[in-house]
Symmetry: C2
Subunit: 382 residues, 2 copies
Amino acid sequence: MRDVYVVGIGQTEAGEHWDRSLRDLGVDAMLAALQDAGVERADALYVGNMLAGELAAQAHLGTLLADWSGLGNIEAARVEAADASGAAALRMGYLAVASGALDLVLVCGVEKMTDADEESADQAWSYGMDGEYEASQGLSVPAVAGLLMRRYMHEFGVQREAFAPFAVNAHCNGVNNPCAMFRRPISVDAYIGSGMIADPVGMFDVAPLCDGAAAVLLCPGDRADELAAKPVHVRASAVATDRLALHSRADPLSLRAAYMSSQMAYAQAGVGPADIGLFELHDSFSVMAALSLEACGFAQPGHGTDLALDGEIGLRGRIPISTMGGLKARGHPIGATGIYQIVELVKQLRGEAGANQVECSLGMAQSLGGSGATAITHILEA
Amino acid sequence: MRDVYVVGIGQTEAGEHWDRSLRDLGVDAMLAALQDAGVERADALYVGNMLAGELAAQAHLGTLLADWSGLGNIEAARVEAADASGAAALRMGYLAVASGALDLVLVCGVEKMTDADEESADQAWSYGMDGEYEASQGLSVPAVAGLLMRRYMHEFGVQREAFAPFAVNAHCNGVNNPCAMFRRPISVDAYIGSGMIADPVGMFDVAPLCDGAAAVLLCPGDRADELAAKPVHVRASAVATDRLALHSRADPLSLRAAYMSSQMAYAQAGVGPADIGLFELHDSFSVMAALSLEACGFAQPGHGTDLALDGEIGLRGRIPISTMGGLKARGHPIGATGIYQIVELVKQLRGEAGANQVECSLGMAQSLGGSGATAITHILEA
């Protein structure tokens, strides 16, 4: 297998884009990533997107974006794994470059949520769960997170307030990210006083669905130095899955897919949790942040919230998370999120994270699909 | 790059399945492919599907099918490229095995069209075209084929009857395929007398949307002989794209993506059209069959229909096509079709095609997405 490097990154602001369409957003991010690497063409384009068909009556997004970006006639496809669609597209790009079949592969994550009414968007989001046994029974994505959070509080004897640091940390970090949807800090009191979405999941426990696009350009090791001043090495790429429906899992509080995919990634890179300098995790809900930290070996089961309360998830903590705002403050344009995480990780590893800079040479990103049924982990090195 | 082999195949009947759900169909085909290879597990599952979200409120199909097949915790993702979704998933499986990252990759194409009303299914099919410039203006997929067929007749001076052999050949071959939706021969008179769908596209010019699933198991060369009595070598895998909207193309009658992807495939395999013993092409419409034959070098522009009229597309002709019924008679369960083509090609190359057996050692399959905007070509060798 060939080594794979990230040599270009691009992103649009995450948020509500009333003047840019789905295809505009994708093309903006793609062209920015190409420009970052100083090239005008790629050999292939893989697009991570979950809901363009459901919300915008547009499938075939790989070919659409290859066409509209002027990349002309190149290989293209769309990859989907619910909320982990962006990371799933990156995985395919990684395999394509690693195989030797393709040299320059552009991977774009894009989602346009605000053109649909909020109810439609929420409903479509639930298509990532088991339609016949969960969504069709009235369960929404926040409702499943509510079940998980309630169970976590019961099982480990923690109060709702214990999750506040996840939201506070994310919003604090989002302030300095010009592409973040929310750039204002929030207080613990604001967290505690916020309205309920799906009790005990409050407004500040859930990442906002929004529009956005992010892109990365991949290349093999022998071209990395030519295309980037600071190429970033993809040291590991690993995917694992779990039972799709929450009720099918032996222990709902153990994210088995996250555990397995992080273990595979550690093995590929020959490292362990202690070697990871920052972790862009999938904080679609506060409870998912806690569970991811536990599944990936940064905290014992039931102690993810302690890690947060101890300040260890901050920029100067033991394992900084959501360093550019995370899903919570940057926003969660579903299929784009996995690529935003990589763009942010690359900025950190290049030393381009500004006021939020974390000193480290090895970082990890993890995307979850559904309620943790798909977990995709990448480890990157400066 | 490692050599990649097909060592297992499985398929359900294509047609109207009122007693099997989307997930049932997928699992049936997947388990059949595993059983064919005599294994119980795979390292990954890639699912080709276009419309489960739009028609069944179910995304995240890779993980759903990995879960329901009992394959447990393996890597999974869904790949989409409109009508070429199955072939796009195969492409990803090919790259994964070729890279050395994964050994046994199961690729499943599945679609369930009949649970939605016919109008919804037809509308969702149009999401493979350019939504903002084609579908939203009222163009349906058959309407675009109608424009192409009318233009072909005008440009090359042929009558509608010249397309009859494509339908007659497909239905003749479908008779002997137990998995085909239509197993009755049709006459040229029936073709001529059939009702119009989108003039000049008649009922026998269009492949029927339906339910179905097909699966193949891929492995690297060093495991092929252990897993199959007659492993089939994937000699080439190539993807190219074109402008998505028909009106954007310089010459609508020249399928540039099909031309480019077949040329890349020929180059990879070191062969030319004359070496190909049979061609499972994408006869979603009669005119697409003619255009594919021309784009891939089997006929000069405007002479695809002559090749058919001369009987050269039959089982004993120069380039047999749709040997198990093609999309026209086997049926077109959209995201599954690309894998049905591979299953049928493997059956031919193994010598298991029964009354429809074509004597050859090298065959080609090509899937088209939208009105030819994506073309994915695979060349397989016995």
